[in-house]
Structure formats: C-alpha cells, structure tokens
Amino acid sequence: MTMIIETIRIAFRSIWSKKIRSLLTMLGIIIGVFSIVVLIGLGAGVKEEVKDQIESIGSNLLFVLPGQIDSGTLPTGIVGSSTITEEDLADIESRERLDEVTPIMILSQPVRRGQNFAPGALTMGTTPNIEESFLVGVETDRKEGRSLSQKDYDTAARVAVIFGAVKKSLYGEEDPIGQSILIGKETFEVIGWREARETGSIISGPEYSQAVLIPLTTAQEISDSNEIHRIIITIGDSNFVTSEKQAIEEMLLKNHDGVKDFSVLTQDDFLKLIDSILGILTNMLAGIAAISLIVGGIGIMNIMLVSVTERTREIGLRKAVGASSGNILAQFLIESIIISFFGGAVGLTLAWVASFILNAQVGIAPVIDLQSITLAVGFSVAVGTFFGVAPAVRAARMQPINALRYE
C-alpha cells in the first residue's frame, strides 16, 4: 500500500517537474474527451429539443406524406412529384372520426416584392382550416389581418398570409397588409401576417417562419397541377389515432394498387424517426471524436518513450538502490495514467463550460450526465493504460548496469 502511494507520488513529481510538456501531452486527451462529451451531449440535447417540439404540436395528429419513410431513413420526395392523389384526399375526408383534414401543396416558386426576394420562403397551397388544425400547435406572438377564408378558397383568390421571416425580408417594419407580392409571375394581396415564436427547431421552426399560405385552389391553378405533398389530419379523440392510421393506410394501399409509396405517420413515428436519425448521427460523430482520443494516446506513448530514454540513468540508479522491475513498471504506467486521467478531467470540465456557452448562444444545452462522465473518464484512463504499457515495459526491462553507463 505505501508502495502504491509512493509510486503515485513519484509519478506526480515527475509530471510536475515538466509542466509544459505534460500539459502538451495531455492536449490530445483533452481535445478527445472534450469532443466526445460535447458531441454526445449535443446529440442528446438536440433530441430533447426536437422531442419537445414534436410533442408540442399535439399527439392527435396524423401526417400523410409521399414516399416510404421508416425509422432510420431520411424522408425523401417531400417536394417534387408526389404520389398522393386527390382520390386519396377525398377518401380521407370522407372518414367520420377526423376533425380536420388539411392538404398542403408546396410551390417552389420565388416570392418577391418588386426586385426584393424572400430567399427561404415556402409557399403552401392549403385549405382555410390550416390555422385551426395543424398550425394551432404553433405558438404565435402576433397575428395581424385575417386568415384564408372559404370564399378565397372557392374563388381561387390571389391572397396570401405571410409569416415572420418573409414579412421581415420583404417589408421590414412596414405594415404588409393590403400590399402585393409576387409568387412566380402572379400577383397576390397580403391579407395577414403572423409572427411565429422563435423555436430554434431544426425541423419545424424555419418552415413556419418562412411560410406563405395561399388557397390550395389558387396553387393548383398557377402551377397547373393537382399534386398534394402533405395531408395533415387532426383527430379529436387521440385514442383513435392508431386505429385511424391503420384504416387510412389500408385505404391508400388499395388506391395505390398495393404499392406502399406513401407514409402515414403519427407524432410517435416522428419521434422514433428523429430518435434514430440523431442516434446514428451522434454515434458517428462520437466515433470520429474517439479517434482523436486514440491519437492523444499515441501522443502519450510517444512522450513517455522519450521520457524513458531521457531517464535511463535514473532508472539504472533506482534499480541499483533496490527498485524492482515491477516498481519501475508501475512508476511509468501510473505516470501515463495520471496524464490521461487529468487530460480527461480537463476535457470534461471544458465540455461542461461549453455546455453553458452553447445553451446561452444557441439555446441547445448538451446533456452531460453520469453516463457521459464515466464514459469520458473511463475511456481516457483506458487509453492512458493501453498506450502507457509499452514505455513502462521498456523502462522495466532496462538492465541496471547498462542504464547506469548510459550517456
């Protein structure tokens, strides 16, 4: 026992006597642990955030999308030629249990006011009920003017409701209501604008604040197509979400001659989807970060090998006065472990500091929990042990007479 404490003391003294070098040696481990903890934490933090967002839109929603979306694959074919038909929409609308059915057609035409473009604007042709159904979950800070009306819909009126980012880039602080904008070549009158709350969400946030809502009939007219890119369904009683999902799936499958080129997703499905996408992403990033930890370990091995050579005489002397090979092995191994352990601790501390900064700046707090702490510290100690063995064995194997003669 005293021997172990003594060995630790010797190792500390030797690390301390070469502070700068020890710090530089630690750097690899510091960076490795820092990036692992931040990346894993960020993955978990983003997951939480997105989960909150998806949950806030309510659990009584169903989304019908073109293309097949499973957990683990990214949704494709959301824009472009859609597989969802008017027949599908009509069939869904005929179902009893559904409160609101809101089809959306996405137009990929530029939105501008004179020569002034709204870069990220997303024009959606939809039914007047959109603000009561789907967008009801989106918190709005300001709501000016009116919404799309049934009359707008029936007459395919050239009217638009614009959202925050679009309003800002086209009108700044001006009042847009009553003014006209161009969507493609068509002139529209702005009848209302909304300020959606800054949500910072990766998925839904930008979409809302970039939205331009126009009647579906108008969209069909100016694009000369009947494509439907999304159908959003509100179900009054959320107990029926699962059974309605199944029924709608069967119905659409029949319409599509048994080819499942569409997806019906619940809020839960979205959560799972996000979960698996972020999980894969996080693991990938953490894997890359782990490589930097290994590079850090090689750095330790390198410096320790140099140190063993430099201290050949010391090793010879220690052996001459009674140190066993085991004592010498322990001394150098413990030195490597201490360096990597402190590297891990510093990296963890920096990650913790970074989590506060990220939270303040970006609004996403990396989750640093007991699991990531144990992982980081355990990993760095393991790296130190693994890469410390070779130098330590080399030191332990030195013959005292050769070591004492070393110049």
Partner: protein, 222 residues
C-alpha cells in the same frame, strides 16, 4: 565466513560476437566482513565490471560468486534486487543524484523501496545527512551543492539503509584533492563503524587509506 568470495569469475561482454570483450578473466578473490579494500588498475582493466558483480548488479559469465554465503550466479534478477535493497550501498564517480530533487528525497530513495513510511524515511535521511556533514543542506537540490557536497549526499544515500557492504566506484574521480580527502574520511569512519568498504580508484594516495589493495590488469588480479 568471508563476505565476498569469487571463484574463477569470468565476465565476457557481447559473448559470441566478433567484438566480444573479456572484461574479467579468472578472478578469484576473498574479502572479509569489516575490511576496507581498494581496487586499483588502469582504465579499462575491469574495475567497474568487478564492482558490479561484487555489488550484485550483474552476474558472472562463468565461475562462481558468493555474497554472504549465497551463490549469486544462480539468483534471479528479482532475488538480486532484494539483496541490493537491504545489504549493499553504491557510490558512483558521477554521483548519480536525481536532478531537481532535494538532498532528503535523494537520500531516502533506498528506504522507499523497502516500504518504509514517509516520517521515518525523512528522519533517517536527515540523520545520515548530519553524519556526512550536510545537516544544513537537507533541502538543497544537487544544482545548489558543490561536487564534494553532492558526493556526500550520494554517500548518505548509500548508507541510509545500513548496508553491510558499501561500494564506491572512483568516488573522488570528479573531485579536487581536498574534497576527495573529505570523502575518504567519511568512508574511513564508515568502515570503522563496521561496514565493509570497497573503493575503486587509480589514485595511489586514495588507495593508501585502505587496509589492502587489489591490483587489476586486463581483467586479471595481479
């Protein structure tokens, strides 16, 4: 019984290689406990090699070496360590103190490997440093000490664990004659207090302080 007994000891470095060196050739030698012996010879005559074997730092290529009755040739390196740890103290021409390390820490080194606790180590190290006349220099690092003082720290380190045998390989070789005399005084007192002392030197004045002198030439006793 004699403390040191060598029988036809031969030491060949790089044996079997075209550049092999016969450092010791058929050495037979006996030294009794309590003796003060000088070993003399020109550079390369095998003095250090003989010291290493006597001090159990190395084993003979052939022949037998008995230390305190034990046949060293048959020992494992682990057993050699434990003999050195308890019974032998080394003093080198180049002092071999740990750099940036206080006198106390240097002196207590052998005690660390005996598993002796911090307090007792410090006490014994300070005691021995007083004995060699460095009672006022216990916190100094080697860079703050003169050559003679450094060698006295090294002597303190060699005797702190009360070894039966103290080996000094040209201890005065790097010192002026006055510091050399002081070192020899310390070794003489050490011998008078009961330790067996063997000093390697090529200085006749130093050898004169010993009770007897062994002369080496080309690895042979002459």
């Amino acid at each position: 019984m004699s403390l040191i007994h060598a029988e036809h000891v031969r030491k060949v470095y790089d044996e079997g290689q075209p550049y092999e060196t016969v450092a010791l050739d058929d050495i037979s030698l006996t030294i009794d406990a309590g003796e003060f012996v000088a070993i003399m010879g020109v550079s390369g005559s095998g003095k250090s090699t003989l010291m290493h074997i006597i001090g159990c730092l190395d084993v003979p290529s052939s022949g037998h070496y008995y230390f305190d009755g034990d046949d060293i040739s048959t020992k494992t390196s682990k057993q050699l360590v434990s003999i050195r740890r308890t019974k032998i103290g080394f003093i080198f021409q180049t002092f071999n103190l740990l750099p940036r390390t206080s006198s106390i820490a240097n002196v207590e080194l052998p005690l660390i490997y005996q598993g002796i606790g911090k307090n007792e180590r410090t006490k014994r190290a300070v005691d021995v440093l007083h004995q060699v006349g460095l009672g006022d220099r216990v916190r100094y690092t080697s860079a703050q000490l003169s050559g003679g003082q450094q060698q006295r720290v090294a002597i303190a380190r060699a005797i702190v664990h009360k070894p039966t045998l103290v080996l000094a390989d040209e201890p005065t070789g790097n010192l002026d004659s006055r510091s050399g005399q002081e070192i020899m005084d310390v070794l003489q007192r050490l011998n008078q207090s009961g330790a067996t002392v063997i000093v390697v030197t090529h200085d006749a004045a130093v050898a004169k302080r010993a009770q007897r002198t062994v002369y080496l030439e080309d690895g042979k006793v002459v």
